[in-house]
Symmetry: C2
Subunit: 767 residues, 2 copies
């Protein structure tokens, strides 16, 4: 080491690893080069000659010749660094070590001084090279044959605990329970047989007491509705037919009895239903009225003489549709227009027995099997019609509307509209559950696809090495890794919503409903999109039943429709935002307020103008303030623009209903902008709540990728709105691909952290 032949000074040597990776990693942008230029100028550990040399090669138009490049590699190789020890090191530190190794007077401490190392690391960070992927490039090129390995920078088990959150005990209990051989998958193709298998497993769950979490202990329940949601979420790692059957019995049917009924119903029904001795269904949707629940046609007419209610389906299209558990249930919670004394009081729920103890259909009830479906064939969906079916008045679930002993209708909520929404609001848990279940299915698909991509090789690299791993392809990274980041974001947001819901009082519930509607829609669209991508990313293997992605695809497909069609839900969210907006400025007159707000938003951007629009430094692009600002700006701007339009239309005497139609497509954009901003907010809130460490670091990286991804997906909007210029959106694209490249080495641990037991994953070993 003493008889060195290199012509490079220690100063240059300290910078060479950065230069080497910088030049070979990708095309550094002019602004990145300008930055390095500046930093070199400022570095006091470099001599004037060092600086001149380095600046020469930091001009993007001046590409080092082959010869120069080879001289760098040679110089770097001369000072053997122990790569096994540097796994957690930075490129900057390697540079400093090489410089140190090259000097004669070892007592000289300049290359060990924290100040020098800090300065070098500052450059490393500014260039976006502070990551595993860059280290890997350096290590590979400098001749060390060993791999960095699949070791993640963080501990997947610790990350799993962060994901599981408050409900870790329940989730772990469920993981253990479902691994029991009794729950082993059976690929049954005949629907009736499959449904029996699922029914049997549902009863098994009830035996274990997990059906009772949502209900108070005095009725044999667990008293923890947050745990009920956690059970549902974890079940969704398993067969989704079982998940949905469970949800119908305990969540929908049980929820209706508990939330819409009163003590007399609780005493009678809660215990038997948590034990799955009483099987019930939730008969709301009608063939003729899917999303428009308020317009249901089934009638429930009160007869004061007999103190009974007569349930009637007035026509074929008023039949109850897609009713889960319809083929096994002995009771239905039927939603119908309640008519008392000839007057309709809107939709109420009534408990209607539909089968006797032997399973025979009761008189007046017609049940028809919905038959096979794209998926969820273990769930017995059916259609129900009622012809003069009479039940005692006590069967009315009477929490929000009752009939007194004089035969008069009364309700604590006078406004029928408000009453209707209060009843529906009591059932908001369904949307939270479906959103979480969608995300669980997404996690299963990503786990399968990422593990596959880390085993499966495709083409040779052309230099006689082995074929490349699928996940080494940038196109493959782009398919899976941003979707992984989104999955984390929506997971945290949805889990937070679940906790907020459990703890919410009545005043908060309306806001939670809006969030639940929007998050359910965005999370389940994300589910459909991601599982589809995972299917394709696994090629033919993804199509085979044995790898289970096909089940995930087929079973989860309906999530975008049920518990509220996503498009309809997004319209609701947007209407909610518009109403809030209007209300908050009711007195002052909207036009003035809009003008004021518009100027404020404009000013906010203008402050940074025009540098902000063209700012492409790594620091800025990764900065939370930038992400927050961009996402917030988009939401507010769209909101303003819709308000403006609506005003114009209304002035032009266009009917409100027609005016809403005209802005319908923009309302979708608004809802999307809101939910993406919300998801990001919840993600960073979560990050702020956890301790410093590698798990936090990896989550920060994922949150950055999430924000940049949603911004990039809508870059057309940001450019149109002149919020950014092309140079910035291009820099974002580059940053995303750098993050993907970097997270490629963390992907294995990031799916391990979902904590899905192999028995539940159910995929045959990939190859």
């Amino acid at each position: 080491m003493s008889n060195t032949t290199t012509q490079f000074s220690p100063g240059i040597l300290s910078m060479l690893p950065l230069f080497y990776v910088g030049w070979s990693d990708s095309v550094l942008s002019p602004s990145e080069m300008k930055l390095i230029h500046k930093k070199i100028d400022a570095a006091d550990f470099l001599s004037k000659e060092d600086k001149a040399y380095l600046i020469q090669w930091s001009n993007p138009k001046n590409i080092p010749t082959d010869e120069v490049f080879r001289s760098w590699v040679k110089a770097l190789k001369e000072y053997s660094v122990d790569f096994d020890l540097i796994d957690k090191k930075s490129i900057a530190k390697i540079g400093a070590e090489i410089a140190q190794a090259s000097i004669q007077y070892k007592q000289d401490q300049i290359w060990k001084s924290p100040k020098t190392i800090d300065a070098l690391e500052d450059i490393e960070k500014a260039l976006g090279l502070k990551n595993q992927a860059s280290l890997k490039i350096l290590k590979r090129s400098l001749g060390s044959e060993e791999d960095l390995g699949d070791e993640n920078s963080f501990d997947p088990t610790a990350l799993r605990k962060i994901l599981d959150g408050e409900r870790v005990a329940t989730k772990d209990r469920m993981r253990k329970l479902l691994r029991d051989p009794a729950f082993a998958y059976r690929d049954i193709r005949d629907k009736d047989e499959y449904r029996l298998d699922i029914l049997w497993k549902t009863k098994l769950l009830a035996e274990q007491g997990v059906g009772g979490y949502a209900f108070p202990t005095e009725y044999g329940g667990g008293g923890m509705s947050g745990d009920h949601i956690a059970v549902f979420e974890t079940l969704a790692y398993h067969d989704l037919s079982l998940t949905i059957k469970f949800g119908v019995q305990f969540g929908l049917f049980g929820g209706a009895v508990y939330m819409l009924g009163t003590e007399k119903h609780h005493k009678l029904y809660i215990e038997p239903l948590t034990k799955a001795e009483l099987l019930g269904c939730f008969a709301m949707t009608e063939t003729g009225h899917g999303s428009n629940v308020r317009g249901l046609e089934t009638t429930a007419t009160y007869d004061h003489n007999t103190k009974s209610i007569v349930i009637q389906s007035p026509n074929l299209a008023a039949g109850k549709e897609y009713i889960g558990n319809a083929m096994h249930s002995s009771m239905a919670a039927v939603f119908a227009q309640l008519i008392v004394d000839g007057k309709s009081h809107g939709v109420h729920a009534i408990l209607v027995p539909i089968r006797d103890a032997d399973g025979n259909i009761l008189p007046g009830v017609t049940v028809k099997d919905c038959g096979y479906k794209l998926g969820l064939n273990g769930v017995d969906n059916g259609r129900l019609w009622f012809d003069r079916v009479t039940v005692p008045v006590d069967n009315l679930l009477n929490k929000y509307g009752d009939i007194d002993t004089d035969g008069k209708y009364n309700s604590s909520i006078d406004n029928p509209n408000k009453r209707f929404f209060t009843m529906l609001g009591a059932l908001v848990a369904g949307r939270v559950c479906v959103g979480l279940a969608g995300l669980s299915a997404t996690k299963s698909a990503l786990t399968i696809a990422i593990r596959y991509a880390l085993e499966r090789r495709q083409f040779e690299t052309g230099d006689n090495g082995p074929e490349q791993l699928l996940l080494d392809y940038p196109t493959h990274q782009k398919r899976l890794i941003p979707r992984l980041a989104k999955t984390y974001a929506y997971s945290f947001a949805m889990s937070q919503l679940a906790e907020d819901y459990v703890k919410a009082d009545e005043g908060q519930i309306r806001k939670i409903e809006t969030k639940a509607a929007g998050l359910k829609a965005m999370a389940t669209w994300h589910t459909t999109d991601t599982i589809q991508e995972c299917r394709e990313a696994c090629g033919g293997k993804g199509y085979l039943a044995e790898n289970r992605i096909s089940f995930l695809k087929a079973d989860s497909d309906i999530f975008t429709t049920f518990e509220g069609d996503n498009t309809v839900l997004m319209q609701l969210v947007a209407k909610g935002l518009l109403t809030e907006f209007k209300q908050s400025f009711h007195e002052e007159g909207t036009t003035a307020v809009i003008k004021y707000l518009r100027s404020r938003i404009m000013n906010t951007v203008a402050e940074y103008n025009p540098i902000y629009k063209r700012m492409t430094s790594v620091d800025h692009l990764m900065d939370r303030d930038f992400h927050n600002h961009a996402l917030r700006y988009r939401e507010k701007k769209i909101l303003l623009s819709i308000s403006n339009r609506m005003q114009k239309y209304l002035k032009r005497r266009i009917k409100p209903s027609e005016a809403f139609l005209k802005v319908q497509v923009h309302m979708m954009d608004l809802a999307k902008a809101y939910i993406e901003r919300l998801a990001y907010k919840e993600f960073v809130n979560k990050i702020d709540s956890i301790e410093d460490g590698e798990e936090k670091n990896i989550l920060i990286k994922l949150s950055q990728l999430f924000a940049l991804t949603v911004i990039e997906e809508d870059k057309g909007w940001f450019l149109e709105a002149d919020y950014m210029e092309g140079v910035k959106t291009k820099a974002i694209r580059r940053m995303i691909s750098k993050l993907c490249q970097e997270l490629r080495y963390e992907a294995h641990g990031l799916v391990d952290a979902f904590g899905i037991p192999d028995e539940l994953l159910g995929a045959k070993v990939v190859m």
Copy 2:
């Protein structure tokens, strides 16, 4: 009519219908208003007072008051126009008629003069109001209760003939044949039973002679491979399992024997295979080598002593994977590395018997069922392994490589690489077929979803009318109608490719391969995307087996993977374009050429600058020249940018394989830009080839929507590249929603024109 009370002059009256619809239809953009301003100024049929009045109300900031607006409506209603007669009229003509009706001296001909009407129609067109939707607004608002009805502006049967093209006779024959009760759908869930049903139907097709179209008449074939493709395309309106089984037997296995074999094989095998007496499979893909066919590991070793070839699977992963027809076949065309005299000559196909006449597996052959799949469960996919299976040398399909009587290998193509690609090229029909089949499935899904959206009502409008039809919602239009336009575009492009392929000579085949790869990828991604959207657009109904979208979804899902994984195919396309680009300037030195080209591209845009970038007139946005220019510009610009990058990387001594990885994501963009441009080109070529008339007009409209849709989807790119400014991309978005609104009244006829018999559609009546 004589005692008129209106204060309006005939001149104003002639313009009022346009003003009325203009103001109520949507927010007219400032540039549209400027235009109308100009036209009013120029109109010689308007008095000075008329002009002043009209210009007053053509200022976007000056919204007519409620009172003014009501006075317009009143004036318009005074002159009752016979709306039943104006179905095919324009708003301009209605204006002229009203003006005419208002004047005292009926002999005055100014309002009947073609010049006046032309001037009015000119304004109508410039405002983008010349369409059914605008007429509908006028008609509805002016009190005529009747509807314009579902009458289309064109004749769906005539349009169907244009779609069917040259193969109308074969397609009609297939439509008739498949409607036969023998082909009725049977929803069989057990795979073995389902496979037998499909096998039986395949034999039925063979009996009808449709399996022979691809082969010369001397071997009992039909001699028309174009008709073979048409059969496949039409079959794909039926059960896709049947389509694929048919394709494997006659297209892949039959195609291998015919295209890779020689006369001795044709004489022996073609006739029995077209009759489905000889069932065969196409054993190419291996578990360990999906997309990398060249790297297959199965060996075929020639033994000169016995004049035989020994087939060997060297390991488990070298087993043949996903082989369709594997469970029913008695013969396999096995692709293996041919080894003669110890030397490998690359991949060749050999006919290997795998079952005896009684269906018993032959010694050395192992067959394993692939089991259930996401869809296509009527196709018997299996895995195949060979252990020292010996066949006579005559079983080598020896068109491109043979072993002579001395045991020496010889081939007309010296270069093994070229030989390999020539063999694969002979099989390009498979990609054309899969692309077309995907489009057929897409058409089925769109037909079901659009018919559903025209029957299904969702919410009330709020003014006590019936609930709105789904297709009246702009969000719903946006989901279905641009996808309908894309389906037309890809259909015409794919059909043209099929005809080009059939007529191609060897010199043209390479270019057709590139197009086939790209169109197959884009068409099948479009299939997956559209069927998914149709499923969701039908809500719960779309999930039920009885409405068949679920089958279309599950069965077609693998189309993006088989006959070449789409991502891999798109890379091929991009590499092809890059190579072409490089070759065409080989001598002159690439850098100089790139510089030259770049300046040319820039100049082309600069010519129009800056007006072009901000041009938002209806005429311009609907103009073919604009579409062509935008699509071509994008493709060339991306191509240049990749070339630039590649050069830089290579200069920086990055290995070519690594450099390709670095631009991989951009290569996807390039291939996409190329294929979208190609599809548009073929669409307008088709339009130019047909006679003037309403069918041509509707196709022009669809082509405009297609072009604007693909431009809008990538508006981020166009804005980044500074090809357009925000004002233009926003105008495009408005134009798309106008076109959707307009085509909503044509959608019924546009799906009727696909000509899918109800029996094949197989959807239960929607409600």
